[in-house]
Symmetry: C2
C-alpha cells in the first residue's frame, strides 16, 4: 500500500512544478518574515525573485548549525511565537542547543512524512508499534508517535529503558513493529534470549531503526535476531525530525518526501552541487514548513541521491545510507573516504580491535594513507607470520570498501590513544609539506 | 477565561440530563461489547435498562484494580483493538500492570479536560509550558502535552531530569508555566538558587503540579519559590490520565469535568454512597469514553465533593485535595483518620524524626490510639522535661489535624522498624479483642 499515491507516485515534471511553487513561497516568506534571512540574502545580493527555476536554489547561501545557534532560541521563526505549539531541540555537544519550532500544520506535515514511511514498512491500523525512542526535546520519539496516530496504528509510547518490561509488553500486547536504535535493538534481543524467549517467536513483522550510524551487517544482525525486516528512518531535528528519508520494502535507499524536503548533494570542499548518484554532503530545504522554514541546511551527512524508478512504484528520489560525516571526510587521490568505511573494513577482516588511527601524508607528489590498527591480544602472541596474513587481509578489506590501497600497520593492544567523547581518527599531515 | 463555558457553567439539571444520557449509553455499550462487564452485571442481576436515573448507578458493581488486572491486557476494550490508537499503562508495584486504551476521539476528550484546566490556570496561546513530567506509558507527560496543543500554547516536552538544562531553557525560552511533581519542583528551585538565579525572576506565572500527595504547606513552599500560583492536577491512568480534577484560580477544590467523569464518594467500609462534603473514597465513571469505558472504579483516594457554586463562575463540582488512601484509613470513634494526617502533624510539631507507628486498640469499649514517634537525636539527649513538652506539642498538633486526642510515646532514634517500599504505619489490634 502507498499512503499518498498522488504525491509519492507523481510524475517528475509535475513534482518539480510543485517544488518550485513551494520553494518560491518559502524563500519569499523567509525573506519577508525572518530578519536573519533578509539580512543574509541581502548581503549575498540574492532575492526571492531570483528563484525562477529549481536550479536557482544554488544562488542561495547555505544555512549551517552555526546560523541556527546564532538565531537561538526563536530567531528563525516565520510566525508569531504564539502560533508555535511545540518546540524541540537537539542538545548538541558544544555550545548553545538548536531549536526547532512547529505550528499545528507543521506537526501534521511531520506526521504525514512518517505515515508514508510506516506504510512503506507495511504497517497499517491493525499494527501495534512499540516505540523505544525517548520522548522529550529529542524528536525521535514524537515523530513515530504522531505518524502512528496518522495511520491509525496502536502506539505503545514506552520510551527507552526497562528492557525486561519492554519484552513483557511485546509478548502481552502482541507488538508487531519495534522502533529502536540498532544498538538498543540488539541489546533487547540479547536480553530476550537470556530470559529464554526467542525474539523470532514474538511476531514482530517490521522494525524501524535510526538515530545511529549503521552498516548492512548491523541491519542483517537485527533482522536475524527478530526474524523481521528492518527499515532505516533518517531525519534531523533542525528540519523537523525523523521522516526526511524512510526505506520502502525494496530496502534499497530511503525515499525522500520531496514535496516537503528539497534535497541537494554538494561537494563539501568546493560547495558545488553534485549530480545524481554522486556521493557528497546532503543539503536540505523545508518546502512546506510554516513555523520555521530552513533553507539549504548543510546536514554534514554524506550520502548520494538517485532519481531512478524504484521497484516499489514510488517516484520519489531515494538517498543512500549515510556513510559518514563531511567533517570526517578525507579526500585522497581524488576519492572521498571516511573513517566509518575503515571501521567497516576492520570489522569484516577480524582479528583486530576496533581501535585505529588513519594517517595521511604526501611524501612526494601522491597522497599516502597509513592505517594503524591494534592487533587483538591473541593475534599479537601468534607471531609475525600470522600478523602478515592479517595485515594483508585488512588491506584487501579496506581496498574493497574504499577502492584505495593503504599501508596497514599492526600495533600492540592498547597502544593507540583513547578518547572521551568523539574519537579523533584522522591525522592529516599533508598540510605540513 | 473559561474554555468551554457551555459545559463548565451549565445549570445542574441540564448537566444531569446530559450525564444520565451518557451514563445510559456507556452502560449499554459496556454490557453489549465487553464480555467482562456482561458477565459481571449478569451475575449481579443488573442490566442497562435498570439505569433510569443517575442514582441508579449505585446498583452497578464496582470495578477495582483487580478487575483491570484480570482483564489484562485488552479485555476491557469496547472497540476492535484496531480502533485503539494509543495505549498507556500504570506500572503498579505488584502483579500485572493495568492498561488504558484510547481511540482518537478519546485522546481528544482527554485533551479537552486538560484544556479546561490549563485555561483555569490562566493559560492561553501566548504561554510557554515546560512539561517536566516523564513521557512514556505513564500518562503524566502526554496529558498536559495534548491539552497544551488544544489551547494552542507552546509546549516544551522536556520530560524529567537534566535539571540545569531545565533552568537554562526556562531562562532562554521564557517559560511561563511549569508542570512538575512538588518534590521535583522544589529541587528545581533549589538548583536554580545554587546557580545564582532567583526562580522568582524567571517570569513563571502558573504552575501545574500533581502525581504526588501534597499539603497546603508544600503548595505554599512551591509558590514562594517561583513567585507564582500553583494549581493541583489530579487524575488516574485507568480513567484516562490527568484531568479528572484541576483547580481554578480560587484554589479551593479541583473542578471535575462532570460531563466526562461521573464522581461518587463512598464509605470504603460499608461501600454505601456518601453525600456532598462527606469525606470518603472517590469512585469514578467514564461518561464519554469510546475505547475503554470504566464504570464505578474505586480509586482508593480519599476526598469529598462539593456542589456549591465556585467563585470562578463554573458550576462543575469540586473535589477536595486527596488526603489519603482508603487502604490506609483508620476509623476511630467514628472518625476517619489517615497516616498522612499524622505525618503532617509531626512535621508541624518538629523535633521528631518522620518515623512513626500508629497502634489502635480497644481496651474497653472505646478505641484508643497510640502514636509512637522517634525523637530526634538532640531531643533524646535533652532529657525528660523537654520530652514531655514535645509530647504535648505533638498530641495537640495531631488533635488539630484529626480532631482526635491520641497518646503519644517518644521512642529512641532508629528504634522503629524500617520498610523497603511502602511503610506499614498502622497496627490495628482491635480485631484481636
Ligand atoms: Zn521504493
Ligand atoms: Zn472554580
Amino acid at each position: 500500500m502507498i499512503w499518498n499515491e498522488k504525491i509519492e507516485c507523481m510524475e517528475r515534471d509535475e513534482l518539480e512544478e510543485l517544488q518550485l511553487k513551494r520553494l518560491q513561497e518559502t524563500v519569499k516568506r523567509a525573506f519577508d518574515k525572518i530578519p536573519y534571512y533578509n539580512k543574509k540574502y541581502t548581503e549575498n545580493n540574492v532575492f526571492p525573485e531570483d528563484i525562477e527555476t529549481l536550479k536557482d536554489i544554488e544562488k542561495l547561501p547555505f544555512i549551517t548549525k552555526d546560523d541556527l545557534r546564532e538565531s537561538y532560541p526563536f530567531g528563525l521563526f516565520a510566525v508569531d511565537r504564539k502560533k508555535i505549539t511545540e518546540v524541540h531541540s537537539s542538545s548538541g555537544t558544544t555550545g548553545k542547543p538548536v531549536v526547532s519550532g512547529y505550528t499545528p500544520k507543521d506537526l501534521d506535515t511531520w506526521s504525514e512524512t512518517i505515515a508514508r514511511g510506516l506504510t512503506m514498512m507495511g504497517l497499517g491500523e491493525e499494527d501495534i508499534i512499540q516505540n523505544t525512542h525517548g520522548y522529550g526535546l529529542f524528536t525521535g520519539g514524537f515523530g513515530v508517535h504522531y505518524g502512528s496516530h496518522k495511520i491509525g496504528a496502536t502506539i505503545i509510547p514506552i520510551s527507552t529503558g526497562q528492557t525486561r518490561r519492554q519484552i513483557e509488553i511485546m509478548k502481552d500486547f502482541g507488538t508487531t513493529c519495534l522502533i529502536f536504535t540498532p544498538s538498543y535493538g540488539i541489546h533487547l534481543g540479547e536480553v530476550a534470549i537470556e530470559e529464554g524467549i526467542d525474539p523470532k517467536e514474538l511476531g514482530v513483522k517490521a522494525i524501524g531503526f535510526g538515530a545511529e550510524m549503521w552498516t548492512e551487517e548491523i541491519r542483517q544482525k537485527v533482522e536475524d535476531i527478530f526474524g523481521a525486516k528492518a527499515y532505516n528512518i533518517y531525519g534531523l531535528t533542525e528540519l523537523m525530525g525523523p521522516g526526511v528519508g524512510i526505506e520502502c520494502e525494496a530496502q534499497n535507499g530511503l525515499h525522500i518526501p520531496e514535496d516537503i524536503y528539497y534535497p541537494e548533494i554538494i561537494d563539501p570542499n568546493t560547495l558545488k552541487n553534485l549530480g545524481p548518484n554522486e556521493k557528497g554532503e546532503l543539503v536540505l530545504t523545508n518546502l512546506y514548513r510554516e513555523g520555521m522554514p530552513i533553507i539549504r541546511f548543510r546536514t554534514k551527512d554524506i550520502t548520494s541521491i538517485t532519481y531512478e524508478p524504484c521497484e516499489c512504484g514510488r517516484t520519489l528520489a531515494r538517498m543512500s545510507r549515510i556513510t559518514g560525516r563531511s567533517d570526517d571526510m578525507i579526500k585522497v587521490k581524488g576519492v572521498a573516504i571516511f573513517p566509518s568505511q575503515i571501521e567497516t573494513a576492520l570489522l569484516k577482516a577480524g582479528d583486530v580491535e576496533p581501535h585505529y588511527l588513519i594517517i595521511v601524508t604526501r611524501p612526494h607528489v601522491l597522497d599516502e594513507i597509513e592505517v594503524k590498527v591494534e592487533a587483538s591480544k591473541d593475534l599479537f602472541f601468534d607471531g609475525v607470520k600470522e600478523m602478515v596474513n592479517v595485515k594483508d587481509r585488512i588491506a584487501k578489506s579496506i581496498e574493497n570498501e574504499t577502492g584505495i590501497r593503504v599501508k596497514v600497520t599492526l600495533v600492540e593492544p592498547k597502544s593507540l590513544p583513547r578518547f572521551e567523547g568523539k574519537a579523533k581518527r584522522v591525522i592529516d599531515e599533508r598540510n605540513l609539506h
